[in-house]
């Protein structure tokens, strides 16, 4: 996950201090895909992920002056992206225009139409199972399973103890495996 070339987080942080525009451009190029997939797994719909991603970077730009280089750029970005995704999910819940059930049916129809879903049967079952997880478990599972994030990094992003995160991930894995077995 960590890169050690001239595109490393340390180099980007240093560049931001001397040449903000260039540093920010490097930051966007390095992290836009990673953050997009992180957000997309949470919000499912591409349009929502697109909105949340752009808002994430706009917020990063606005508060980049407050970023302290002693903290990790990587966890700072994931914190903002996760908050953006959760804000969007909560907005959807309040508006009740797109429920989780609707997301599941969207997911199924998208996969059938092959417009947005590009995976086999096993992946389809896995992502349907992930959708059944409670919100917090879903975030923990995604960050650990797909982004291979450490519990230490996760605890900084989610402001939760490592023990609680481990328990949450354990429950999520058990539930997903149970669903996969039942199918």
């Amino acid at each position: 996950m960590k890169l050690s070339n001239n595109n490393s987080d340390d180099n980007i942080s240093d560049l931001i201090k001397t040449d903000l525009n260039k540093g920010f451009r490097l930051l966007v190029e390095k992290y836009s895909q990673k953050l997009y997939w992180h957000i997309r797994r949470l919000v499912i719909l591409h349009e929502d992920a697109d909105d949340a991603l752009q808002n994430t970077f706009i917020n990063v730009w606005k508060s980049i002056g407050n970023f302290r280089s002693e903290s990790s750029l990587y966890t700072w970005l994931y914190t903002i992206a996760t908050n953006e995704a959760l804000t969007l999910i909560n907005k959807r819940k309040r508006n009740a225009s797109v429920s989780i059930d609707e997301l599941e049916s969207y997911f199924a129809s998208s996969r059938e139409g092959s417009t947005w879903f590009d995976g086999d049967e096993a992946l389809f079952k896995l992502h349907n199972a992930i959708l059944t997880l409670p919100e917090k478990q879903r975030i923990v599972f995604n960050l650990k399973y797909f982004d291979e994030m450490t519990y230490d990094e996760m605890s900084k992003i989610l402001k939760t103890s490592e023990g609680a995160l481990k328990a949450s991930y354990h429950h999520a894995v058990k539930k997903i495996e149970r669903i996969l077995t039942d199918d």
């Binding site: 451009r25 895909q33 591409h46 970077f57 947005w116 995976g119 399973y145 996969l180």
Partner: protein
């Protein structure tokens, strides 16, 4: 299949063609525009009070200059500049010929609408002032 480890770790979602190039461009351009906008707004907010004071002072100076140009005759302007050079407001006021100032200014000050009086009223008033009737008719 019942083990997560048996499922390949592959991103199953699709995105539109060239999405990431487009979104990166959009983000960069949006933040650049935002930066310019913020700087413009910040500049205005920061100096708003100073700008308003400067505009007010400029307005007062302009009005004063225009009033002096219009109200003071040419032959008196030299006196004004002399006075200004002496920076003595009292002597400036004393040197101005008030009567000539009134004559000049009368051309720019609209006459006040007087009471609605008829010719008969005027004649009566003049007779009251012991003015000869012939003189009155000559004036009319």
């Amino acid at each position: 299949m019942n083990k997560l480890s048996e499922i390949p770790e592959k991103i199953p979602f699709k995105v539109p063609d060239n999405y990431f190039e487009e979104v990166n461009r959009k983000i960069i351009s949006a933040t650049s525009g935002f930066d310019e906008q913020v700087r413009k707004v910040s500049f205005y907010n920061k100096f708003r009070t100073s700008l308003l004071i400067a505009a007010s002072v400029a307005g007062i100076i302009l009005i004063s200059y225009t009033a002096i140009k219009l109200l003071i005759p040419d032959n008196k302007k030299s006196q004004v500049s002399e006075v200004l050079s002496e920076i003595n407001p009292d002597s400036f006021i004393n040197d101005i010929d008030i009567s000539s100032l009134e004559e000049e200014s009368s051309a720019f000050i609209p006459a006040e609408a007087g009471p609605d009086v008829s010719k008969k009223d005027i004649i009566d008033y003049l007779l009251f002032e012991n003015i000869e009737l012939n003189d009155i008719y000559e004036q009319l």
